[in-house]
């Protein structure tokens, strides 16, 4: 009986010490912008491969979706960090949200347009004339395409604009020539499907024509940055380390395994291509550290949104970009 009591006491002590060790980890919530897939490989890898844990953080990485908005969650204190697109950030700032951008994940915006290679290649913006262009009304791509057309001096009468949704049928049936896609997810799938039918494709990337509209970035609240700067720095350091490792081709198999655990519906071959495409967008050059904030691109994004009347007044985005990782 006495022996049992001693064993129980020892067990209890071990349990308590383990709990107190666990309690030393800072608990954080990190809301992604999109579903778990290769486009968030670095976020998954940082979590699964213990980068957060090694930095003394216990981070719950939460999947995103079209209905979930990291900025709302930061304000409602459901999340400490999040991922949001530049247009979301600028709109929120325009409406008084107190947020800061910590790192820019995509150096090249994945939002591009796909078109068949049997059509003339778009070498200049004038080559858009006469084409049937798909846009998502209300989406980023509408703002970007309006900017492109304005830049090229192409009137809406010189092209056909068709509103598009998730269903690719109008593109498959050639009713729409140029279709908006996320280059590293839908772009890979569409390219693969058309390749099986013997058709090759091109991608139209607005950045190639001087239109740099920033995509996803890591954000936090002003309060968090002010009150817990060390936690912010530690989190960002661990996250970007995870992203750097995930984008290293040498770790590809490991990364794919980590992603596969959460994204069970994508075929291995497609996932591998999506990861390769993501790599080109996140780290287009070995000399650019992941997370680098491209100030000029942010300022251009703000100007585009101002011109397109997406915001009412300048938000002076340069004052909301963290200097932790900047070009």
């Amino acid at each position: 009986m006495r022996k049992r009591t001693v064993i129980s006491l020892i067990f209890l002590l071990v349990l308590m010490s383990a709990t107190s060790l666990q309690a030393k980890d800072v608990q954080l919530n990190y809301r992604l912008k999109w579903l778990f897939n290769s486009s968030v490989a670095g976020d998954i890898y940082a979590d699964v491969n213990g980068y957060f844990k090694a930095a003394g953080l216990s981070v719950t990485v939460k999947e995103g979706s079209p209905e979930k908005n990291a900025i709302n969650e930061l304000e409602l204190r459901h999340a400490d960090f999040g991922v949001a697109s530049a247009d979301q950030v600028i709109r929120a700032l325009d409406k008084g949200a107190k947020i800061v951008v910590l790192a820019q994940l995509f150096q090249v915006n994945p939002m591009q347009w796909i078109y068949r290679a049997d059509q003339p290649e778009i070498k200049t913006l004038q080559d858009l004339k006469g084409r049937n262009i798909g846009i998502t009304f209300g989406g980023n791509d509408e703002t970007v395409m309006n900017t492109i057309l304005a830049k090229a001096g192409i009137s809406k009468k010189e092209v056909t604009i068709t509103g598009v949704r998730f269903d690719f049928t109008p593109f498959f049936m050639r009713k729409v020539d140029v279709w908006p896609v996320y280059r590293n997810s839908q772009g890979v799938i569409l390219k693969d499907k058309l390749a099986k039918e013997g058709e090759a494709v091109y991608f139209f990337n607005p950045a190639d024509f001087g239109v740099n509209f920033v995509a996803n970035s890591v954000i936090t609240s002003e309060v968090m940055l002010k009150n817990k700067p060390a936690v912010v720095e530690t989190f960002l350091g661990a996250l970007l380390k995870g992203w750097e490792a995930a984008m290293d081709p040498a770790n590809e198999a490991d990364v794919l395994n980590a992603v596969k655990r959460l994204d069970t519906s994508t075929h291995d071959a497609i996932m591998q291509q999506q990861l390769a495409a993501t790599r080109d967008l996140i780290k287009p050059s070995p000399s650019i550290p992941i997370g680098t904030i491209d100030m000029a691109a942010w300022q251009q994004t703000e100007q585009i949104m101002l011109k397109e009347k997406q915001i009412k007044k300048p938000v002076h985005i340069e004052t909301r970009l963290s200097r932790l990782v900047q070009k």
Binding site: E67, F166, T169
Partner: protein, 255 residues
């Protein structure tokens, strides 16, 4: 009745807005998460006219969709009122079709038919139809023994007469169900527009959601609520008029 419906809606709407503003104040949220009154008013000034026409566009599909679903529900309800094999077969088929969630069927409908007028109409009718069918089946399958007995023993009972007796005896219930189903038809149309259409208030809500613009969504909800209240009020008034007229033409009492 019409006036009462409108002010009842306004009370609900104001309570809802008040609740949101209370949350905004307590949690010190920005206008991005919950817009303040000045922003809502400013947004209303910008989008009111556009949204009004969007709601009218949606309402036109709603009215047509509801009409179709009433015809479908009465046809299936009358055909399926008998406890014969064919009656039960029709009922089972109707129930099974409804068992599939419309949001799962909608993308297939849009892939096959595109994102024009017909798919919106179809989805509105499908969402509105089933509750109507249940009521119609319930009414049509329940004999009014006191009256029907006379026609049965005198050998004058025909199916048209049976349907008329049952409809007349349950007119009050039927008009309530039809007026109530207007909300479902409207919801069906908005769902269709939200999923994949290029017109209507559901489509405008979708765009506002893309832009995380809650002020626009609140305006859209206001417009939908007012218009549907007016439409339901009109339906209820029409129901009353029909009841009175039918009673007088049958030389009976007002129900």
């Amino acid at each position: 009745m019409l006036f009462r419906r409108i002010y009842q809606f306004l009370i609900v709407y104001i309570i809802g807005i008040g609740f949101l503003l209370a949350i905004k104040a307590v949690l010190s949220l920005s206008d991005y998460v919950i817009p303040g009154i000045p922003l809502v008013i400013e947004t209303a000034g910008q989008v009111f006219t556009g949204y009004f026409f969007d709601v009218m566009n949606t309402l036109s599909v709603t009215v047509l969709g509801q009409g179709i679903s009433i015809i479908m529900a009465f046809t299936v309800g009358i055909a399926g009122r008998k406890s014969s094999w064919i009656g039960s077969f029709i009922k089972v088929t109707a129930y099974n079709i409804q068992a599939y969630p419309i949001v799962a069927l909608a993308p297939i409908i849009f892939i096959l038919l595109g994102d024009g007028f017909i798919p919106r109409l179809m989805i509105a009718s499908m969402i509105c139809y089933f509750p109507l069918l249940l009521s119609v089946l319930g009414i049509m399958a329940t004999p009014v023994t006191d009256i029907e007995h006379f026609y049965i023993v005198t050998g004058r009972m025909r199916w048209q007469l049976e349907v008329k007796i049952r409809a007349f005896e349950n007119l009050s219930k039927l008009t309530t169900v039809i007026a109530g189903s207007a909300t479902l038809a409207m919801a069906g149309t908005i769902v269709a527009e939200f999923i994949a259409a290029n017109a209507g208030i559901g489509y405008s809500i979708r765009i506002a959601l893309y832009q995380s613009d809650l002020a626009k969504i609140l305006i859209a909800l206001f417009m939908i609520g007012i218009i549907i209240s007016i439409y339901q009020g009109i339906l209820e008034t029409l129901g009353e008029v029909i009841k009175v007229k039918w009673s007088i033409s049958k030389k009976g009492e007002v129900l």
